[in-house]
Symmetry: C2
Subunit: 322 residues, 2 copies
């Protein structure tokens, strides 16, 4: 194995805009390398400037093309843009998943664009955390906009999309369960609806369906999500999508909702780090005691149950708190 | 809303074999109803008897047909069988996802078969836990075999498949990335490989590819995974798959590996319950203090970082342990 570059050096290079260093840092994040914490501590003070846009939706809606064309529109406005394409169903990372090979080639000479694909790499857990840290890396590198594209509307995808400031949900007409799929709990995360393939005869029907679903929502929304029609393969409607995204950003900023959302996300991040520590420092060591192993044997033989043993590790009155 | 049946009563009915009670219990598990813990405590003493088989693999490999035909073979051997079909990308639950409508109709008059579909229901997290608890429900009802089918090879799917005693990984020839997809970390969880659609001209190539991949593995295996060829739509090879599954079970039992695996899973389950309690009793209350809110503000303004604040909640030397 090659000698590893020290974390501090990588961070310095990355902050200076070195793309190779960024790639190496993201690989370490994905590999859950032991120096991730020190890397992220070095990066964190330089974050908070990028505007993060999530693009999600069921497979087949044309998200990839929407993202491609949105890159073009955002670049035309002069902004530098980082893209994280996340596919929890792909075991591949770093290279080309989705339609990324073409996308990467198209933008390969443009230093104002940085594209990274992330898959699950076959190991469990950690993809959402890796995606969040990668967004911070691109933020620290000075990209003014970070697009996060997720494939599908599964749990990991929604979790990742939920870390964006603005979430665009892309659907297409005539997909059968296109609008059905957004009914059940996915609606709520959308700030903007995109009806792609809007030249399809059923497009207006899809728009009307979304409007109906929005009308039926019980929880009131301070921001009424616009419905944008696009034909991404013909470059139509993307300017409109970008205008709507900026309008949503203005709304978030003026209402104080942007700071509010970001604060809540940072709170969740702190709790997750603390939770990881509790697991490593309290829970995992607790399994090594003789007492625990005896209790575990009793669980195996159904003489007690997992909840009763958990009660012994974390007594009901709590550990005393902070 | 209708009056809710008390948890204890539902558990009694379920243990007596009442399918409607089982359906209601599983719905409460999916809804994360507050009485899930008391339900699971009632069920747990009656579990540990079912043999759990996971069926996983990339979309398009024909898993659903393999499961259908495997149900037939297992029923022919006289065993009662419960099936949990999990699709993290589906927002639907309880009803028909995948090809389940047909499957459910086919077996609707057979009280020796119980089939339940689970989707993500649009909310984040909890699907793997819900699937594990549902397996316990079917186990407690006296089903001798529980099949767990997962769609795709994403994180949640692998996590769920990993709770089975025997995991069969279904691939099909000519899928392009079929064997590619199993390269990266998914191989390891397979106890049996199933090459479905084995009448395809590329089938032997796929078998050879899997054999090569197995040969290249670094971690030694005590059990060499057999490669079973099936043509599920023509009912071919399923008896062989069931024989191999039973052989794997015998191997696990004789080697002590079955008890070992199940013990490790119970340990993980206890830690997860304890972790949930720590979050509710230690972490979440800690955010309500004045001190935490001031620290959070400093994180928002990049004067400190999330790791430093986590250090304050969980000091490095630990909370003292058990």
């Amino acid at each position: 194995m090659a000698t590893e570059t020290p974390a501090g050096e990588l961070v310095d290079r990355l902050l200076a805009g070195n793309r190779r260093a960024a790639g190496q840092v993201i690989s370490r994040i994905e590999d859950e390398s032991p120096d991730v914490e020190s890397i992220m501590r070095g990066i964190f003070p330089h974050t908070g400037n990028a505007y993060v846009v999530g693009i999600t939706g069921p497979p087949g809606a044309g998200k990839s093309t929407v993202v491609d064309e949105l890159i073009r529109v955002i670049r035309a406005s002069g902004k530098r843009i980082g893209v994280v394409a996340v596919d929890p169903n792909s075991p591949f990372s770093g290279g080309a998943i989705l339609g990324d090979r073409i996308r990467m080639m198209r933008h390969s000479s443009d230093t104002g664009v940085f594209i990274r694909s992330m898959g699950a790499r076959g190991h469990l857990g950690g993809l959402a955390l890796a995606a969040r840290n990668t967004i911070l890396v691109l933020d620290a590198m000075g990209f003014e906009v970070v697009l996060v594209e997720t494939v599908g509307v599964g749990q990991s995808e929604l979790e990742i999309a939920g870390t964006a400031d603005t979430v665009a949900l892309v659907v297409a007409p005539g997909m059968g369960d296109g609008v059905q799929a957004i009914k059940a709990g996915i609606m709520e995360i959308a700030d903007i609806f995109v009806v792609n393939k809007a030249d399809h005869p059923q497009a207006n029907k899809t728009v009307a369906d979304i409007r109906d679903l929005l009308r039926m929502e019980i929880a009131p929304r301070a921001w009424t999500p616009p419905i944008v029609k696009t034909v991404a393969i013909r470059n139509e409607g993307l300017e409109d999508l970008w205008i709507r995204t900026r309008q949503h950003r203005q709304y978030l900023e003026r209402s104080g909702e942007l700071e509010n959302r970001r604060k809540l996300r940072l709170e969740a991040e702190i709790l997750e780090i603390a939770d990881r520590r509790l697991r490593e420092q309290v829970l995992e060591p607790s399994t090594e005691t003789e007492e625990f192993q005896q209790l575990l044997d009793r669980v195996v033989h159904r003489e007690t149950d997992p909840y009763a043993v958990a009660d012994r590790i974390v007594p009901r009155p709590g550990l005393g708190g902070v």
